[in-house]
């Protein structure tokens, strides 16, 4: 019988530490599968963020660098400039990438840095216990917005894909989600394209992945999936925001 | 130590490039030399001074706080640094711009009307090298020929067309200083 479900070679056989129903694990698996399919496990260098995904370096079976909070795109720049023929990616949460690391990811895109950012948007700071993230929705309750995010006080969610699209250095920008089998297939396609764009030397690529954090949203895994679909997707529309000209990859 | 030279003026007078040119020539003649600039925050018109220490042995402090030679390119510089010159030292003033009287009587004062001379030569930008020519004549720290050689290295390629005018300025400064020496001897 053909095995329909097996661990990608790029993922080590260790249990994830993520909470039940957390979709960080799904995103890891997709990245692992893409790296396997592209046959680049031996040539890839990944960057772990500060956030719940800080331990990705223990899960992926290839060279990994742990970066300071938000700085992964700068670290990846250093690596890629020294080793231009390797595949270099970062895996970052919304606090990491879109708050403290805003300068780093924007300027990596501005420079057209040939790296790929996998950006996990779960609308909250997971690791530190559920504080407001730059992507927290208006009205969304978090530990630091106990009455719901009030735009008068805390402004509005950051739309990373929309922001990056006009930049000339950004070659592939897409937003996906991992709340349903169909969405997961789309997400994987986007991740693969992002890596291919990098490998073709076309410029900066980023895939935003809407992800769940049942623990800090105070929901069951099922409720979380539903909440993502009903609240996040309308605010953060899915799709490819920027693609290279047809036929290039 | 042979000489501690302090060149003081304002931005745009070429004080820093004069110091660098001199330092370069000293190096060419195998001397130990240190050049230290000192300038204000303003890009143009602010304080622009430098010190050049020349020696036949390793230089300890490169700061020129007690100059053996002081060049002042404007009134303010005279006022500020006149007192610092060592007794018996040399004070060259750009008399085109320095109108105030020198109060020291224990130093040798040589006024050179550098701006007027430069105008007369048709190259207003070479006033600084007229002063440098005078300095070379009066101190003999390096030869005019070595400075002429250094010009090619110090000036960027695109300014090499200006080398003849600068050489002329050095000669003119030296001639004025010679005249002054004769007057001194009389």
């Amino acid at each position: 019988m053909k095995k329909a479900f097996s661990r990608p070679q790029s993922l080590l056989d260790v249990p994830f530490h993520y909470c039940p129903g957390c979709t960080h694990g799904v995103a890891h698996r997709l990245v692992g599968e893409v790296i396997d399919e592209l046959g680049i496990q031996d040539n890839v260098i990944g960057h772990a963020p500060v956030g719940c995904a800080v331990f990705t370096m223990d899960y992926f079976d290839f060279d990994m660098i742990s970066a300071a909070h938000g700085r992964a795109p700068a670290v990846a720049t250093g690596v890629k400039r020294v080793l231009p023929d390797r595949v270099v990616f970062t895996y970052q949460g919304d606090g990491d990438l879109a708050a403290i690391g805003t300068g780093e990811f924007v300027h990596a895109a501005v420079r057209g840095e040939k790296i790929t950012c996998i950006f996990i948007n779960n609308a909250v700071y997971g690791m530190t216990g559920g504080q407001m993230a730059p992507t927290t929705l208006p009205g969304q309750k978090t530990k630091t917005t106990p009455f719901g995010r009030d735009s008068v006080i805390s402004g509005y969610p950051i739309k990373v894909c929309e922001m990056l699209t006009p930049l000339d250095g950004a070659a592939y920008i897409a937003r996906a989600a991992v709340h349903s089998p169909r969405a997961i297939i789309q997400a994987k396609k986007a991740i693969k394209k992002a890596f291919q764009v990098q490998m073709a030397g076309l410029g900066f690529s980023l895939v935003e992945i809407l992800s769940t954090c049942p623990t800090n949203w105070g929901l069951t895994p099922l409720e979380a999936v539903k909440w993502l679909e009903e609240n996040m997707i309308p605010y953060f529309p899915l799709g490819e925001y920027k693609v290279p000209a047809a036929g290039v990859i | 130590m042979m000489e501690a030279i302090y060149i003081a003026g304002h931005g745009g007078q070429g004080t820093l490039s004069t110091g660098q040119l001199l330092a370069n020539a000293c190096l060419k003649e195998g001397k130990f030399v240190a050049y230290l600039p000192h300038y204000g925050v303003e890009k143009r018109g602010g304080v622009s001074n430098c010190g050049v220490t020349i020696s036949n042995q390793q230089i300890s402090s490169p700061f020129v706080t007690e100059p053996t030679v002081l060049i002042v390119m404007n009134n303010l510089s005279l006022e500020r640094y006149e007192k610092a010159v060592v007794p018996g030292g040399l004070l060259i003033t750009n008399s085109s711009l320095v109108e105030n009287a020198v109060t020291r009587n224990d130093v040798r004062v040589v006024p050179i009307a550098a701006n007027e001379e430069a105008e007369r030569m048709g190259h207003p930008m070479v006033a600084n090298n007229i002063i440098l020519g005078a300095l070379l004549e009066l101190t003999g720290v390096v030869s005019v020929e070595t400075v002429a050689d250094s010009l090619k290295e110090v000036l960027p390629e695109r300014h090499h067309g200006k080398i003849p005018a600068n050489l002329q300025a050095l000669e003119r400064g030296a001639a004025l200083a010679r005249k002054h020496k004769l007057v001194d001897q009389r």
Binding site: Q41, I65, S66, A68, V75, G78 | A34
Partner: protein, 354 residues
């Protein structure tokens, strides 16, 4: 071949000669000429000069390039070095060889662009978070600025540690003769630990300073401590001047040490037995030599362009066996020869400095 070079350029050329091929940095005075020099020079040798969006990004690019096994550097001054502190701590924690140049300017705050030595504490006592040390080198001539870069990269690789080269801002502007004839052979040790992709080494490499289990973190701390001990024992370096029979000993680093040399000469001419110790490594501090002089020294005088920072390390070395005084100018002012001489005279006559 002797050429006239600015200190900033000498540092840049020294780095190139040491095999450094990557520079990441953000503009700040008074180190601009260094970046201008490398922006031209690195492409000539197949290297890369990249202007980052901030010092925070610069130091993290350094982190990445070092992780990838390259000889890499950055440079900055005051406010920029402050922004790099987080990265320096990470570099130390992940044991990444790297060279950071600080051309110190007046502070705190935005301060000014005049020369200073007020970042001594920041460099030698930490600056960033956690238990760590950088190796800190302080040249005092343009020639030494060039030579120090080779030493800095060698030490960084040898100990897998960040190395800071510190000078005051005016040293970057100072021009002196630099001999470019020397040895230009570049020997970079192999770096089997570098994250270069698994096809390029055996097994999986990880660059990391995140050890959530305290036992594991302590293990790293202990390993670092051991390394720092070895560095302390082996790498202390200093110069001495007229020290043999000195009873008044000046201690100064960088350009100030040269003002002190002149002061010592003048004091000797007046019959005062003055001498000078010039620390070349600020960390590890040359405690051993200073300690040896303690019993025959009547008084020490540290001369610094700060409120008295290195004086603490001198006192630790002397351990109360002789009084240690301080003379400093602040805010970008430079100690003057005559004032240092007056301090020496005062001490000679039994005064207490102030």
């Amino acid at each position: 071949m002797r050429v006239l070079m600015k200190g900033n350029e000498a540092i840049g050329e020294g780095a190139v000669r040491a095999g450094c091929r990557y520079f990441f940095g953000y503009p700040i005075t008074p180190q601009s000429e260094l970046t201008h020099y490398l922006a031209k020079r690195l492409p000539e040798v197949g290297g890369l000069f990249l202007q980052a969006e901030s010092e925070v990004a610069s130091i993290n690019m350094v982190y990445g390039a070092a992780a990838a096994g390259a000889r890499v550097m950055t440079s900055s001054s005051g406010p920029g070095i402050s922004l790099m502190q987080e990265g320096l701590s990470y570099l130390a924690g992940s044991e990444l060889p790297s060279v950071i140049v600080n051309l110190m300017r007046g502070g705190p705050g935005l301060g000014n662009i005049a020369p200073s030595q007020s970042d001594y504490f920041q460099a030698v006592k930490g600056g960033g978070h956690g238990d760590y040390h950088m190796i800190v080198l302080a040249p005092n001539t343009a020639q030494e600025m060039l030579d120090t870069m080779g030493k800095a990269f060698d030490l960084a690789d040898q100990y897998r540690n960040p190395v800071m080269v510190m000078a005051d801002g005016i040293m970057g502007q100072m021009m002196e003769a630099v001999d470019l004839a020397g040895d230009t052979k570049i020997e970079i040790p192999p770096k089997p630990w570098a994250t270069t992709g698994m096809a390029h080494h055996t097994g999986k490499n990880v660059i990391n300073s995140c050890l959530v289990i305290p036992e594991e973190m302590e293990e790293l701390n202990l390993r670092l401590e051991k390394k720092y001990k070895v560095i302390s024992q082996k790498e202390q370096a200093c110069d001495q001047y007229m020290l043999a029979d000195a009873d008044i000993v000046l201690v100064a680093f960088g350009l100030v040490s040269r003002i002190c040399m002149s002061a010592v000469e003048k004091a000797r001419a007046m019959g005062i037995k003055a001498g000078l110790i010039r620390p070349i490594t600020l960390w590890p501090f040359p405690t051993e030599l200073i300690e040896k002089t303690a019993d025959k020294t009547r008084a020490y005088l540290t001369v610094e362009m700060n409120m008295g920072q290195m004086i603490e390390d001198v006192r630790l070395a002397v351990r109360g066996r002789a009084p240690v005084f301080h003379y400093g100018r602040l805010g970008g002012m430079v100690p003057e020869l005559k004032d240092v001489l007056a301090e020496i005279k005062n001490l000679h006559e039994g005064g207490t400095g102030r």
